[in-house]
């Protein structure tokens, strides 16, 4: 598999990271090196193996459907970039 400059730009867009032309070229070289390493995985036949997503074989715990959080809006919004009247401000989404 070889990665193209367009792949890098497409993935950067998916990840919502602005990337310039020069930066994309550097990223292409470095990511190609890393994918060279990753390709070693393809040499192993794993058709009979079950994927392992987790180190411990445990099931998701459930809890009662009760309120556990108190209202700390002011505290939490004290670290926000921009708030007004208890709301987080972002640029207009709908024209």
């Amino acid at each position: 598999m070889s990665l193209s400059l367009d792949d890098v730009k497409r993935v950067a867009n998916l990840a919502r990271i602005e990337i310039g032309e020069d930066e994309a070229r550097t990223a292409l070289t470095q990511l190609s090196g890393i994918f060279g390493l990753i390709e070693q995985m393809q040499a192993v036949d794993t058709s009979a193996i079950k994927p392992m997503s987790h180190a411990q074989d445990v099931t998701q715990r459930l809890r009662d459907d009760v309120v556990t959080e108190s209202d700390q809006r002011e505290l939490f919004q004290s670290v926000a970039p921009q708030v007004e009247a208890g709301l987080y401000l972002v640029p207009k989404v709908i024209e």
């Binding site: 993935v11 990840a15 919502r16 990511l31 890393i34 192993v44 193996i49 079950k50 994927p51 392992m52």
Partner: protein, 488 residues
């Protein structure tokens, strides 16, 4: 006093020979002197630390002291601590004062320990040299031309330079063990699930695990007694009976079967590191242990598997940093999408962006099976290798890192070379096993070498025993760099 063990400090406090305020001032003074040259701490807040020390002194005076009450502990800047700047080594969080405490921080608070400050680290714990920190690299106390290792490089440096008696770290692919090895201190990553991940800024959630870094195995045991325990707010926290990790420290090692994986002693291991590790194993034979050769045939695959799974999880975890509710927001942007794209472009450093791109790619349509699922299948093979090996031995030993600390700047431009330096530690995270590093000598340029000890699930107590007995007959763990002895 600055060079005392946690047990000694605890005894001094209990006997009222010193107060927590005095002790905390001693360490703050040492930090003031040494931190400018080492960059181990990114945040020191004397007032907050001293207020905690005063509270600890009150606890001691009222007879409510616990083993770590009044002892200052350095906290890796990945743990949210209420009222403290919590940056995770990133510009993205350079303005983030945490509104809450992580589970680990809460446990130290309940124990009456003092938060001595927040330690430097690779950005979002992504790195093996501490060079990806937004706050600049940490220097290795043994040789300031060398890296301290990473990502918990600030914590390792703080303990090695005796700026803190002990510290916390986190380990996703070796981030406690490798810096411990490179700085000549002890560190343990417990079994996945033993220490709460609540409030510990997430990198790769199925691999991240916090643990202590300290001078000795005995100190690690005291720290683990505080750090471990169930936390309902962490969905993978394990519900188990509490353990006293001090209980087995003194057990004799006669009959202990040490497995030596042949893949850990082959090509790639430097001669000086090999020599120190082999000498340590010879010491274990003298203590009555037997050695048996074992095999972990899929060791080599652990790096490619890790560099699929960890970036995949990271790309998902780090999508929360969007410049809306907290963290960095770009100064100029045209619309919402542009705000996301610019905030993330300016807020994240190069290595973090690289890993987000890898993760996004391997999870994207058409590549998911070939990369992510294939990596999860190989993860099972890697875990099975350990299960097979533990049929023949009680504990596994080898080098923590293939070389002693490399020079600052030596590998920072070549990510692949940097990734390969974690060859011995990564598989342990993939399997979820406990792993540990203790100092076992010095190699080239008089830089420290670490002995890697890997145990079976929940065998921390035995691992600490194995490390403690070694530290009773050797003195590597009490060595301090010559130029830092003044004032100790």
């Amino acid at each position: 006093m600055l060079n005392s063990s946690l047990k000694q400090l605890s005894a001094l406090l209990a006997a009222k020979k010193i107060s927590s305020v005095e002790l905390t001032r001693e360490f703050l003074g040492r930090i003031k002197t040494l931190n400018p040259g080492h960059n181990a701490f990114v945040t020191v807040d004397e007032n907050r630390s001293l207020a905690q020390a005063q509270a600890a002194d009150a606890m001691i005076a009222s007879g409510q002291a616990r083993p770590l009450t009044g002892i200052p502990i350095a906290q890796k800047d990945i743990f949210c601590a209420k009222g403290w700047l919590t940056t995770c080594g990133s510009k993205m969080l350079s303005n983030f004062v945490s509104p809450y405490d992580a589970g680990v921080i809460e446990r130290f608070n309940v124990a009456g320990a003092v938060n001595l400050g927040k330690t430097n680290m690779d950005e979002f714990a992504m790195g093996s040299s501490n060079e990806t920190s937004f706050y600049g690299p940490v220097k290795n106390p043994w040789d300031t031309a060398a890296v301290p290792g990473g990502s918990s490089g600030g914590s390792a440096c703080a303990v090695a330079a005796r700026m803190a008696p002990a510290a916390t770290g986190t380990d996703t692919g070796g981030s406690i063990r490798q810096p411990a090895a490179l700085c000549g201190i002890s560190g343990i990553k417990p079994t996945y699930g033993l220490v709460s991940r609540y409030g510990m800024i997430a990198f790769a959630s199925s691999l991240d695990q916090a643990g202590p870094m300290a001078k000795s195995a005995e100190d690690l045991a005291l720290m683990l007694n505080v750090m471990t325990g169930f936390d309902a707010r962490d969905s993978t926290s394990l519900q188990r009976e509490p353990e006293d990790y001090l209980r087995d420290l003194e057990k004799p090692l006669a009959g202990l079967r040490i497995g030596l994986p042949r893949e850990y002693f082959s090509k790639g291991l430097s001669i000086d590191a090999a020599r120190a590790v082999e000498a340590a194993i010879a010491e274990y034979r003298k203590l009555g242990a037997e050695t048996v050769e074992v095999s972990l045939p899929n060791t080599k695959l652990s790096i490619p598997v890790y560099y699929v799974l960890a970036p995949a999880e990271a790309s998902s975890n780090l999508s929360r940093f969007d410049g809306v509710r907290y963290g960095y927001r770009a100064p100029e942007y045209s619309d919402l999408n542009d705000m996301y794209r610019k905030s993330r472009a300016l807020g994240f450093g190069a290595e973090v962006k690289r890993r987000i791109l890898i993760g996004t790619y391997v999870l994207s349509h058409g590549y998911y099976d070939a990369y992510y699922i294939q990596a999860q299948k190989l993860r099972r093979l890697i875990a099975q290798d350990f299960a097979e090996a533990f049929k023949q031995c009680d504990i596994i030993m080898g080098p923590t890192s293939p070389t002693v600390a490399f020079n600052l700047g030596e590998k920072s431009s070549d990510p692949v070379q940097m990734y390969l330096s974690d060859i011995y530690t990564i598989a342990v995270n993939l399997a979820g096993l406990p792993g540990m590093s203790i100092p076992c000598g010095f190699g080239e340029k008089n830089r420290p070498v670490g002995l890697h000890i890997v145990g079976n699930y929940f065998s921390e107590s035995q691992m600490l025993n194995v490390a403690h007995r070694y530290q009773q007959v050797t003195d590597w763990h009490v060595r301090v760099p010559e130029n830092l002895k003044a004032g100790l």
